[in-house]
Point group: C2
Chain length 199, copies 2
């Protein structure tokens, strides 16, 4: 507003900011960034982590293909350019929710190091925790929860991460989760939340 | 995950949902959609409303040009098509934050009835409260907080809402706020928050 408007007094000095929202929430915000192959167990771990955090009264939100690809990013496909834009927007939303004082869990394949680095820079390195959901391609392909590997083997889809398109593992993740199924996911979720000082 | 993965047991049944987040927050989520000319006082009212809601312990977030145009929507300009996409994305973010259990205040010109209707449908009519910040163009142009009207009169920008591009007032807003400056904005913010049963 212009300096002559009486409302200015309020708009300049009384904005609610991240610190105030975090104090109200009773905990700092954070972004937990899960990365790994399709079928690695990202959504499973993300859900278990959100349950655990919620149980401790943390204000959480989970960003994944279910609520992003069908909504905000419904205009995007799976070309390299669209994948980069997909992750850019996810990072921007995570940044807004972080500013809102929330603990955001992001569960996308996010196969390229460069785009995860972009996300980290947009969000801020101190608030960005990368977790590598490390499950062998063989196991992911056996599970094939969305039937994507089968379609890719049949040539019906291209650019499948792990087959036609590369997956670049994190070089220095905050933590690595073995998604092969031998470890109880609830225990892993608790351990990760504790390691990140979130509970 | 595929039905053979042991993690499935958890991912299917223990997802945190909107109702759980709202219970944790202690209040329902809602989207307050402010619309009006540039300089009408949307940001001022939005800030005052957020302050008032925050004071009552409500979990809030404010979406406006400052945090959207410079981030998520930095790839968009001001053509009619880009304005529609701008509002679509704002509505999608508001929907996600509503799902996160928050009270979202959106402060964009959003000049077209059709795009506000799209936002209402995306968000859900019951959770969408339209507030018309009604300030005469003459007053807005006098304030000209961003110098946009002057630039538009000089022909340096086109599509300025109110001059080169139309503003379509709401036909049945939840409430109308006279942004001319005669009314104390804090009192108006409180009245609006009460009228919307948010405090």
């Amino acid at each position: 507003m212009g300096p002559s408007a009486p409302q200015d007094i309020f708009s300049q000095h009384f904005n609610v900011n991240r610190g105030m929202r975090e104090r109200l929430n009773g905990h700092p915000g954070k972004v937990i960034w899960l990365t790994g192959l399709s079928g690695a167990g990202k959504s499973t771990l993300a859900n278990a982590m959100e349950m655990e955090l919620h149980r401790f009264g943390r204000k959480t939100y989970l960003l994944d293909g279910d609520n992003i690809r069908s909504g905000l990013n419904r205009d995007l496909g799976f070309s390299d350019a669209d994948r980069v834009e997909n992750i850019r927007r996810v990072a921007e939303i995570a940044r807004l929710m972080l500013d809102a004082g929330m603990i955001v869990i992001s569960a996308f394949i996010s196969p390229f190091r460069a785009e995860r680095e972009m996300a980290k820079m947009l969000i801020g390195p101190n608030d960005f925790l990368e977790i590598y959901v490390n499950t062998p391609l063989r196991v992911c392909e056996e599970r094939d929860p969305k039937g994507l590997y089968r379609k890719a083997r049949q040539g019906r889809i291209t650019n499948m991460t792990g087959l036609g398109s590369p997956y670049e593992p994190p070089t220095a993740p905050f933590a690595t989760f073995n998604g092969s199924g031998e470890i109880a996911v609830e225990q892993a979720a608790r351990d990760l939340a504790r390691a990140a000082s979130l509970i």
